[in-house]
C-alpha cells in the first residue's frame, strides 16, 4: 500500500505540461527584481540607477537576521529602483534592469577551486547563502537558515517532489530532464547536514520520475531512496509529507527540525549543487505556465524578475478572456491584479484562468452539515464549526475548535457542496485572534 496521510481531497490534476520539454524563455527586455523575495527582511540595494550590472552580480544584500541576497538575472543597466505594492498589499522595491543582451557573467561565477566533497558543512552553507538560495516550492524560506537550524538536529532528509497542486509540473520536468543535478545536489545536502541518507518523496501520478530516480539511485546514489506516496492534495504540505513517510506528526508552531526532519524542494537541491560547484547564484528557475486561457501551456526556464506577461506571450498568448492570473497553484496560489508582476524565486507556476475555470463564489448556501470538510481536513479540525463560530463573531470558540492550527490548504472550501468559503472564515478568525493577542 502506498504511503499517505488522513484527510485531504482528490483533485482534477490538469497536468497538461507533464510531457512538455522545458524551454528557455527568450531573454526579456527588462527585468524587475524584487529586493524582498523571501521570508525575512528585505535586502538593501547595492546598485543605483545608471549602474551597469553583470549577470549573477550581487545587487541586494541582507544585513543581520533572516533573509537571502538577490542577484542580477541578466546583464544590463539599472534603470530605477521602483517601489510598488505587490499582490498581498506589501510594499516592495524592485531593481529594474534593462537588458543589454550580452549576458556578461559576473566574476563570482566560476568553477569551485576545490572539489565540494572536501568542503565542510559551514563552507557549503556559506556558498548556499551567498547564492541567495531560498526554498523554490513557494514559501521561499532561506535555505541556508534552514540548513543551519537543521544541522545536528535532524536524522531524516526528505526531498519534496509531491507537487500536489493541479497544473504544476515544473519539478516533475526537472526530475525527468536534469535528474543528475538534483541527485548530486541532494547528495551534497545530505553530506552538509552530516546525514547518511535522503529520501525523494514523489506522488504516484509521476511514475516515470519514480522509475527514473529509482534506477539512478540504485546505480550511483546508494544513500538515496525513492518513496512513492498516493496522489492526494495536500500531500506536498511539509507536515503531511513528513507524516506519510515517517509517521511523525509535526505539532502546530514547531519546525520540522524539532521532530528530526528537514525537507527541501528538488529545485532547491539542484540550485545548491550549482551554487557550490559553479558559484552560480539563484537567478533563473523553471515556471509552469498553464490555465485554460493560455494557447500553448509550457514549462519555461526564466530569469528571476521577468514579468508574467512575457511568460504568457512566450506561450502563444491568450485564447480566452482572462479573469484571474494566479501565481502558484489553484489551491494555494495568490491571485495577481497586475499582469506585469515579476517572477520570484518561489514562483513555480503562473496560471491564467477564465471565468469558467475559476470558482465564483456565486451564492453561499447555509452549511448543510454534510461533514465533508471534517473528513477532508488534513489537520483533523472541524472546519464547519470554526466557520459557524466565526460567522457569529465568536472567535474564542473558533479557537477552541483549533482555528489557529489551520494550514489554509483550502481543502474544506474546495469540497464544500454548499459553497461556504470555509477557509476564508478560518483566516478571518485567525487574523482576529492574532490582533487580539497583539
Amino acid at each position: 500500500m502506498k504511503q499517505t496521510f488522513r484527510g485531504g481531497v482528490r483533485l482534477n490534476e490538469h497536468k497538461n505540461t507533464d510531457h512538455c520539454m522545458t524551454v528557455r524563455l527568450p531573454s526579456p527586455k527588462r527585468v524587475y527584481i524584487p529586493l524582498s523575495q523571501h521570508i525575512g527582511a528585505p535586502c538593501t540595494p547595492l546598485v543605483k540607477p545608471g549602474d551597469h550590472v553583470l549577470r549573477g552580480q550581487l545587487i541586494g544584500e541582507v544585513g543581520t537576521g533572516l533573509g537571502a541576497p538577490v542577484h542580477a538575472s541578466i546583464s544590463g543597466t539599472v534603470v530605477e529602483l521602483r517601489t510598488r505594492h505587490n499582490a498581498l498589499g506589501t510594499v516592495v522595491t524592485d531593481v529594474v534592469i534593462d537588458n543589454d543582451f550580452l549576458d556578461t557573467p559576473a566574476e563570482t561565477m566560476h568553477p569551485a577551486s576545490t572539489p565540494p566533497e572536501t568542503w565542510t558543512s559551514e563552507k557549503i552553507i556559506a556558498a548556499v547563502r551567498d547564492a541567495g538560495i531560498a526554498g523554490m516550492g513557494g514559501a521561499s524560506f532561506p535555505t541556508h537558515a534552514k540548513m543551519t537550524s537543521a544541522l545536528g538536529k535532524v536524522d531524516t532528509l526528505l526531498i519534496n517532489c509531491a507537487e500536489c497542486e493541479p497544473y504544476i509540473t515544473a519539478n516533475h520536468r526537472l526530475l525527468l530532464e536534469d535528474p543528475m543535478t538534483v541527485l548530486r545536489g541532494t547528495r551534497l545536502l545530505v553530506r552538509a547536514l552530516g546525514l547518511s541518507s535522503g529520501t525523494f518523496v514523489i506522488e504516484d501520478n509521476k511514475q516515470n520520475a519514480i522509475d527514473l530516480l529509482r534506477i539512478l539511485c540504485d546505480a550511483s546514489f546508494p544513500e538515496l531512496k525513492v518513496a512513492a506516496v498516493r496522489t492526494k492534495y495536500p500531500q506536498g504540505d511539509e507536515r503531511q509529507l513528513i507524516y506519510a513517510v515517517t509517521k511523525r506528526e509535526l505539532p502546530s508552531g514547531k519546525l520540522p527540525a524539532d521532530i528530526g526532519c528537514v525537507v527541501f524542494n528538488p529545485a532547491t537541491a539542484a540550485a545548491a549543487y550549482r551554487a557550490v560547484t559553479g558559484g552560480m547564484p539563484l537567478i533563473a528557475r523553471i515556471v509552469t505556465v498553464d490555465g485554460d486561457c493560455v494557447k500553448e501551456p509550457k514549462n519555461l526556464l526564466v530569469p528571476i524578475g521577468t514579468p508574467f506577461r512575457d511568460l504568457v506571450d512566450a506561450c502563444g498568448g491568450l485564447i480566452k478572456e482572462p479573469k484571474s492570473l494566479i501565481s502558484g497553484g489553484p489551491m494555494m496560489g495568490a491571485a495577481q491584479w497586475n499582469p506585469d508582476e515579476p517572477v520570484t524565486k518561489g514562483t513555480n507556476a503562473i496560471l491564467v484562468l477564465s471565468a469558467d475555470a475559476t470558482k465564483p463564489y456565486a451564492g453561499e448556501h447555509e452549511c448543510i452539515r454534510c461533514g465533508r470538510c471534517v473528513g477532508a481536513c488534513p489537520m483533523h479540525l472541524m472546519p464547519n464549526y470554526i466557520a459557524a463560530y466565526t460567522k457569529r463573531g465568536d472567535y474564542e470558540s473558533a479557537k477552541e475548535y483549533g482555528a489557529m492550527n489551520c494550514v489554509e490548504c483550502g481543502s474544506c472550501s474546495y469540497i464544500c457542496p454548499a459553497d461556504v468559503p470555509i477557509v476564508q472564515y478560518v483566516r478571518r478568525a485567525k487574523n482576529a485572534l492574532r490582533q487580539k493577542k497583539a
Partner: protein
C-alpha cells in the same frame, strides 16, 4: 524554442495574432482556493431522490396508483409550503436546493397508502414550516422533518396511521394481511406466516416506501458509491440491530430473527435515508458510529418493550437530539496534537 539572441526579440517573437484576447489593466483578485468541486447541494439532493425512486416505484406498483397520488401531493405540498413561508417572511427562496422535495418524498414513503390526503398535507406543512423553516432552514433543523411529521401523524391520527389495508394494486399475486410483519410478531408472539423472501422483495404490508428492503439497499448502495452518505451510520445502525436480534432473539424466532428484524418495518428506509440526513447527524466518523449504535439500541428497545410495534422513527428522532453533543465530544485528535480536545465552544 531555442536559446534566443537579441535579434529574436527585435524581430518580435512575441507577435500575437490580430484580435487575440489580452490582459485587462487590472485582473480579478480573490482569495485561494481558485477552484472548486462540481458537487453542489442540489446535485446531492437529486442523488437522494434517484436513490429513493426504485423503492417508491415498487410501492406504487404494489399498493396501487393511490401511492403515486400520495407522493405527488406530498412533494408539491412541501415545495409550496417552503415557498410560501419564505415569500411571507421575505427570505431568500431555497426550494431549488431540492431538500423540500426530498422531505416530501420521504414523508410519502413513510405513510400507509390509505392516508387521507388532508392529513398528509397538514403533516407536510408541519415538516417544512415548523420543523425545518422555523429553526432556520436546511442545515439548522434539529430533528429530521419527515420523521417528525410522521410522528406528528402517529399521535394526531393514530387510526389512519395504523391501517395497512391494501387497495387493489397492479399486482394481486399473494394475499397480504393488513397487519405489518412487526405488528404480527408483537401481537402473536411468533413468526408464523412470515416469509423471508417476501420481506426482502417487499411483498408485505407496511408504508408505501418501506416495504422493499432490496430496492432500498440498492438505493443506499448508490448513495454510498456517489459518496453522498458515509458508511458509518448505516453499518452501525444495522449492525446493532442485527447483534441484538442474534443475542436476544424474540418470539422464539431463533436465528431467523436476524434477517426478520433487519428487513421488516422502516429499518432499511430509516438506516439508509433518514438517519443519514446531514443536518441531523454528526459530522465526525466516531460520532456517526455512536449515533448509529444509539439508533439501533432505541429501535430494538421500542420493538421489544414499547407499545408500538415499530421504533425506527422514534429512535432516530431521539438520537437526533444527541447530535450536537456527539460532535462536541468526538472531536478528531488534532494533527500533531497529543490529547483530544473535549467539549469547548459555546452552544451554536
Amino acid at each position: 524554442m531555442e536559446y534566443t539572441k537579441q535579434n529574436d526579440v527585435e524581430n518580435g517573437v512575441y507577435d500575437m495574432p490580430e484580435g487575440a484576447p489580452s490582459f485587462p489593466a487590472l485582473l480579478t483578485v480573490s482569495p485561494s482556493p481558485h477552484q472548486k468541486t462540481r458537487i453542489h447541494v442540489p446535485r446531492m439532493m437529486i442523488d437522494v431522490l434517484i436513490a429513493l425512486l426504485p423503492a417508491y416505484v415498487f410501492g406504487v406498483v404494489w399498493f396501487g396508483l393511490r401511492a403515486l397520488l400520495v407522493g405527488v401531493v406530498s412533494v408539491v405540498a412541501c415545495i409550496i409550503s417552503e415557498l410560501v413561508f419564505e415569500k411571507i417572511l421575505r427570505r431568500p427562496v431555497t426550494v431549488m436546493d431540492g431538500s423540500a422535495a426530498v422531505t416530501g418524498l420521504l414523508l410519502a414513503m413513510n405513510v400507509p397508502v390509505t392516508i387521507p390526503i388532508p392529513y398528509l398535507v397538514i403533516a407536510d406543512i408541519f415538516a417544512i414550516v415548523v420543523v425545518k423553516c422555523l429553526f432556520g432552514g436546511l442545515g439548522k433543523n434539529i430533528v429530521n422533518p419527515a420523521l417528525a411529521a410522521r410522528v406528528f401523524l402517529f399521535v394526531s391520527f393514530p387510526s389512519a396511521m395504523a391501517s395497512f389495508a391494501r387497495p387493489a394494486g397492479f399486482l394481486s399475486a399473494d394475499a397480504v394481511t393488513g397487519a405489518t410483519p412487526l405488528a404480527a410478531i408483537k401481537e402473536a408472539g411468533s413468526i408464523e406466516g412470515i416469509d423471508l423472501l417476501n420481506l426482502l422483495l417487499g411483498k408485505t404490508g407496511g408504508c408505501i416506501g418501506e416495504v422493499s428492503a432490496v430496492l432500498l439497499l440498492l438505493g443506499g448502495l448508490y448513495l454510498l458509491c456517489r459518496r453522498v452518505i458515509s458508511w458509518q451510520i448505516p453499518v452501525a445502525y444495522l449492525g446493532t440491530v442485527a447483534l441484538i436480534a442474534l443475542v436476544f432473539p424474540r418470539a422464539n424466532g431463533g436465528l431467523a430473527m436476524v434477517p426478520i428484524e433487519l428487513l421488516s418495518g422502516g429499518l432499511m428506509l430509516g438506516a439508509l435515508f433518514m438517519a443519514t440526513d446531514y443536518a441531523t447527524s454528526p459530522v465526525t466518523s466516531v460520532g456517526r458510529l455512536i449515533y448509529g449504535v444509539l439508533c439501533g439500541l432505541v429501535t430494538m428497545f421500542i420493538r421489544y418493550f414499547g407499545a408500538y410495534p415499530e421504533g425506527v422513527s422514534f429512535a432516530i428522532l431521539i438520537a437526533n437530539l444527541f447530535v450536537y453533543y456527539l460532535d462536541r465530544y468526538t472531536k478528531p485528535t488534532l494533527f500533531g496534537g497529543k490529547k483530544k480536545l473535549l467539549g469547548g465552544g459555546k452552544k451554536l
